[in-house]
Symmetry: C2
Subunit: 138 residues, 2 copies
DNA sequence: GCTATCTAGTCTCCATCGGATACTAGCATA
DNA sequence: TATGCTAGTATCCGATGGAGACTAGATAGC
């Protein structure tokens, strides 16, 4: 239990061919997609793209995130090379998280998701209302 | 347990202001982002954007998906108005799933994620190897 | 002097989530 | 008669995620 899963070196079955394919469960790209299609990762990346932030600042800005998930997600993002962690030996110690160049390329792919949610929210809620009404009398 | 969670009409606290903000846990846009930043939803949308498909076809194409998650995710996507379900009364019954116009707008926002995973996989794996090596020697 | 507070987490407990497996119906095929 | 097809559902159990207590070491307040 001292070892969080992300530290474990998972046995990595080599892909049969060299074409990356997210639809193959064992493909490394699929593992990356699994990690990246994650609400906390998306929210953290969007915030850090806007500037370096400290742990508790992120915690305050992301409504509903637990310390455990924030800590876990940041560690994964750091391992994936998307986020950089810098500990400053003050008392108490402060830790700064910033986005890396690689992380910035992912942010470009991820921010449209936030935009989409914010612009199409009305259409989604309308669809849900329609669906629920049909279910009740259907 | 007969009622899956997506059917429940969750008590929906009204947002204090009218600005959608995914960082607020109670904001409807956040709920949408939570649903949409999901690996199965992403993979299903990408496949259906390419053409109408049947349940078992999707199951075969998406490596590692369980029937339960496929069925649940399709139902959610249908409720959100992103996917249309058509049951054809053959024997045995066949069911066709297709993407809606709204779903197509989301697909445009989601496909870059797949592209990103497939193009940056090498950089991510390199970062992971670097991180793991550092961890081992402290 | 004693207590509270700040930081960035970790630890433990528990509810929920997701995966594996078995099962359903009704007809076609071997 | 047994087997397979369809599109799921029911059930069990392990993995995941959230709530809250707890850690260190220095500082500020009473």
């Amino acid at each position: 239990m001292g070892e969080p899963r992300i530290i474990e070196l998972a046995p990595r079955p080599l892909p049969k061919d060299l074409t990356p394919d997210v639809f193959v469960a064992e493909c490394p790209t699929r593992r990356v997609l699994d990690r990246v299609a994650d609400k906390w990762a998306v929210l953290i990346l969007i915030l850090l793209a806007d500037g370096t932030k400290r742990f508790n600042a992120l915690k305050r800005m992301i409504g509903g995130v637990s310390q455990k998930m924030l800590s876990q997600t940041l560690k994964s993002l750091e391992r994936d090379g998307l986020v950089a962690r810098r500990a400053i030996p003050t008392v108490p110690v402060t830790v700064e998280y910033s986005i890396t160049p690689l992380g910035r390329t992912l942010h470009a792919a991820v921010d449209p998701l936030r935009i989409w949610a914010e612009t199409h929210i009305a259409a989604v809620e309308a669809a849900q209302a329609r669906y629920d009404a049909e279910q009740r009398q259907g």
